[in-house]
């Protein structure tokens, strides 16, 4: 199995990596780049906890080969805050009590970010649609939806 050299831009930083073809993007992020904010709950695309943005669209990084991401931009949860300044979605999730065990949280936030980046003023239905690939067993989702609504409102004001 021949390893393949890829370039990957993760959270704005370019990486040159030598990866085995059977390595998933999730493995590469977590194990090679030590970006462990990307969680794995099922590894087969059912739960959404490994959601990252690939060229700004949400994907399950457990079902993307690292080689398929070659030359592309990846955003992980570690890429959202600017230093100690949290992204408004992160801030809203904290303030609304939308985080319990936290295992789904990074993926949930990235799905929300993808939505707000393309639709700054979504209604509740659009928010729910955008989060429908991220399973959460703790919260019942209501506080998450409220947090995203609040973040959208705050981002709209800024």
């Amino acid at each position: 199995m021949e390893k393949i050299r890829i370039e990957l831009t993760v959270n704005g930083k370019q990486h040159d990596l030598l990866v085995a073809p059977n390595r998933t993007l999730a493995q590469t992020l977590r194990e090679d780049l030590r970006l462990t904010g990307t969680k794995q709950g099922c590894e087969v695309g059912d739960c959404g906890s490994c959601t990252v943005l690939l060229d700004d669209v949400p994907v399950n990084s457990c079902l993307v080969l690292a080689v398929q991401a070659a030359g592309r931009r990846v955003t992980t949860i570690e890429g959202l805050a600017q230093g100690n300044e949290l992204h408004p979605i992160q801030e809203a999730m904290i303030q609304h009590g939308a985080i319990q065990c936290g295992f789904c949280t990074p993926g949930m936030i990235l799905s929300a970010k993808a939505l707000l980046d393309r639709n700054p003023d979504p209604d509740a239905g659009e928010i729910k649609d955008a989060l429908s690939g991220n399973l959460c067993r703790c919260t019942g989702y209501q506080k998450i939806v409220e947090a995203v609504q609040d973040a959208a409102a705050k981002m709209g004001r800024d």
Partner: protein, 786 residues
């Protein structure tokens, strides 16, 4: 309760939320262990088979393999949850009892190699006939799963309280109803995993995704034979538990043995499929309830039978079979109750505890029956319930004492907080509204093993440089918010702002804590934390009183500032001394009150390190009968919900439109966290009501061992939820607090069932409420009419 709080009752953001929102929170898999080996477990492909031989030679010879172990390499020791039923071995010895039973394990340089090695282990099986259902297991001549239990009955309960025959004799209406739920899965998003490190000091340290570091520590010490004082279990952040992580798992035990054997850190991590194979989640219950009522709606007697399909081992099952009966004795006055329960072994993964342990299906059955009786009596279901509810001071027929009980307040809150009065009985066909109540313990009255142990100990250390305190607790933050709640309780007890409290938790080195189960942490660890906080406060204020030369009882602390009663006291010398000690610092205390920081510094200078400790165990609770312990608790939470549904009469599909939810948590330590538990409970209850069922083929293999095919609710499946927090002020709880984590799930299923009945006239007696089940019931009802 009119007590004024400064921290308790607020909506303080959770302490762990920033780490979790930024990806900095570390779960087991996120922590680096140098020189780590990856472990993997060989599991049985058969539901029931004799092991004839195991050949590990080829696996051992594979390059990169560090160890291969089977039952031959570990002590022949039985373990489990209840000491009365230790029926598990570390690896299968003579036979395997379910698809997934552990047969061997490997540690290798990487997971690839470990998985390859598993394939090289040759196991010869003689397949035995298996039993997959209660009926099969109880049939005459059925294959026996455990030799010690020839009829496959793992545990049985026979209880009678009051005089049931007399109760029925006085009844005007007697109804018998049957109800069946389905085996549920915990479906927490982080699968079980553990990394074991056996170091050169002979200490074994486990970093485990567990709800119960304490029990894992004891079990692992017992099976390995290592001094319990040299076994440490650490729980980093945990991605949910809900019950199935409330016992030592093969991940914990096998990683320990592999680490001991190899002298290297070993990780054993379940895949999602293995989570389903391990199970330890909600049992399948079949309930038969015969209940007698007076014409005026008074409940007279309940004769209740229940069968639990338990799987191949006991897990929590003995407690489960007791809970399934005992938790019906409240919140309604039920003078006469007979209960017969049987937990039955089958060749399936073992079931255990899950949110609402033992009581959820029973509650659904009973609350549905109450609605049917109300209909028969032409009474409003809410009126029927209000007529029968207990209030504070009542004791149930099985000796459960209601020290506080806001049941009436909860029922009235959901009635008035929803559109019940406008809608009940007035909605068009296909639309329905239903309600139900619930009830749960606020911490199990006794530990799982017989012991006079404290249920928790907490230490609070005042940092020597002043200013902050550090809480050390073994309590298990698994997402429910206990870290934040404990920090808030500590802050309130000491009289300092929340940001002055640092907290570490979930480590057996920090003290005893039985863990996150039975909704015990807020009340129990809360008590211990409060006691430790008060000790700290007293020590600091005593030092200050000495320094100022005044009586201790003139001093109090709130918001980090010392309050002095009586005449003003000149403390300028004290402040000058502090400022001199901190020359060059920018945060000198100011104002006309002594700060906690100054007082704490004085205490340190007088006594050395200031430490406060707290402990808690409940008083002796419950009756003297067999099984009296199960269901006892120092307090009980209660709840009520109103559900509104839409039923598609052509497809049978039910949509839950809204849930109005009231819960009596005694006193909300953190209001946002209380709502969060209520909303989360609704979602798990809704999942069980509508979708969830672990399915098996006829060979005992799980058919839907994935989160794609095992359906927990998505955001699109959740209704609008309105949460109403009721605070009855629990005398046995710290600052009046009691549970919310599990009681809140109780009304969800029956409220939905009762709403479906209101919408359609059909009674669904088997979960989940699938479109097919509803449509079938609708068609049958039509045929009855014809």
């Amino acid at each position: 309760m009119t007590q004024k709080f400064n921290v308790i009752g607020s909506r303080a953001p959770r302490l762990d939320a920033p780490d979790k929102a930024t990806g900095r929170a570390c779960y087991v898999d996120d922590i680096e262990f140098p020189h780590l080996l990856e472990g993997a477990i060989l599991q049985s492909p058969h539901a029931h088979a004799r092991i004839l031989s195991i050949d590990t030679s080829a696996a051992e010879a594979l390059p990169g393999v560090a160890a291969v172990i089977t039952h031959r390499d570990v002590p022949d020791v039985r373990y489990g949850v209840s000491p009365a039923r230790y029926d598990e071995t570390i690896f299968a010895i003579d036979k395997v009892r379910y698809v997934g039973d552990e047969v061997a394990a490997v540690a290798a340089e990487d997971l690839d190699t470990a998985m390859a090695a598993l394939e090289l282990i040759k196991v010869e099986y003689e397949v035995l006939p298996h039993v997959l259902t209660v009926d099969e297991a109880l049939a005459e001549g059925a294959p026996v799963i455990h030799d010690a239990f020839p009829g496959n009955i793992c545990a049985e309960v026979h209880q009678e309280f009051g005089d049931v025959a007399a109760g029925f004799a006085e009844s005007d209406i007697i109804r018998t109803d049957v109800f069946v739920n389905k085996r549920q899965d915990g479906a927490f998003i982080e699968p079980h995993r553990c990394v074991a490190v056996y170091d050169n000091f002979g200490q074994l340290t486990l970093t485990s995704s567990t709800q119960v570091p304490h029990y894992v520590q004891r079990t692992v010490a017992m099976v390995t034979g290592i001094d319990v004082g040299k076994v440490r279990v650490k729980k980093p952040y945990v991605g949910g538990g809900f019950g199935p992580k409330a016992e030592a798992t093969p991940c914990d035990i096998i990683s320990a043995f592999l680490a001991i054997k190899t002298g290297r850190p070993v990780r054993v991590a379940y895949s999602r499929e293995q989570v389903f194979l391990h199970c330890r989640a909600r049992h399948q219950f079949k309930h038969v309830m015969k209940t007698g009522f007076k014409k005026d709606g008074t409940i007279m007697a309940l004769d209740h039978q229940c069968w639990l399909e338990g799987g191949a081992y006991s897990s929590f099952g003995i407690a489960t079979v007791y809970y399934a009966g005992s938790l019906l004795a409240a919140p309604y006055k039920l003078p006469n109750m007979k209960y017969d329960g049987w937990r039955v072994y089958t060749n399936k993964p073992a079931c255990g505890a899950q949110r609402g342990h033992g009581g959820v299906a029973a509650r659904a059955c009973f609350e549905q029956q109450l609605d049917l009786i109300a209909k028969q009596l032409d009474m409003d279901p809410i009126e029927l319930r209000l007529k029968n509810i207990m209030t504070a001071g009542d004791v149930s027929c099985n000796d459960l004492a209601m020290s506080s009980l806001g049941m009436k307040e909860c029922i009235e809150a959901v009635r008035d907080g929803s559109t019940w009065r406008d809608k009940r009985g007035r909605l068009p066909k296909g639309k329905g509204i239903g309600m139900a109540s619930g009830f749960f313990v606020s911490g199990a009255g006794y530990p799982i093993y017989r012991s006079e142990t404290y249920h928790c100990t907490v230490t609070i250390k005042v940092q020597e440089d002043g200013g902050t305190v550090k809480v050390l607790t073994g309590a298990a933050e698994i997402g429910q918010g206990s870290d934040t709640a404990m920090a808030m309780i500590a802050a309130e007890a000491i009289g300092i702002p929340l940001d002055r409290v640092r907290l570490v938790s979930g480590d057996t080195d920090y003290g005893v804590d039985l863990g996150a189960y039975s909704s015990r942490t807020t009340l129990m660890t809360g008590h211990a934390t409060k006691e430790a906080g008060e000790a700290v406060k007293d020590r600091v204020l005593t030092a200050l009183a000495e320094e100022l030369g005044i009586e201790r009882d003139r001093l109090d602390m709130a918001n980090g500032l010392v309050e002095i009663s009586g005449d003003p006291v000149d403390f300028s010398e004290l402040r000058t001394k502090y400022i001199k000690e901190h020359r060059g610092w920018s945060d000198h205390p100011a104002g006309d009150q002594i700060t906690f920081t100054e007082a704490a510094r004085i205490a340190y200078l007088k006594y050395g390190t200031v430490v406060g400790t707290g402990k808690y165990k409940p008083p002796v609770l419950g009756g003297k009968f067999k099984g009296a312990a199960v269901g006892t608790s120092p307090a009980y939470g209660c709840s009520a919900q109103v559900a509104e549904v839409t039923v598609d009469l052509e497809t049978g599909q039910v949509t839950v439109d809204s849930i109005t939810d009231a819960h009596d948590c005694g006193k909300a330590v953190n209001l946002t966290s209380v709502e969060a538990q209520m909303e989360g409970s609704v979602s798990m209850g809704l999942g069980e009501a509508m979708f969830e069922e672990v399915k098996f083929d006829d060979q005992g293999r799980v058919l839907n061992a994935s989160l794609g095919e095992y359906h927990i609710p998505t955001v699109l499946d959740m209704p609008q939820m309105s949460c109403i927090v009721v605070e009855s002020g629990e005398p046995n709880g710290p600052f009046g607090a009691k549970e919310v984590g599990e009681g809140a799930i109780m009304p969800t299923i029956p409220a939905i069932l009762n709403a479906v009945h209101d919408a359609t006239g059909v009674t669904i007696t088997e979960l989940p409420i699938t479109p097919e089940r509803v449509l079938k019931a609708l068609k049958e009802k039509e045929q009855e009419k014809d």
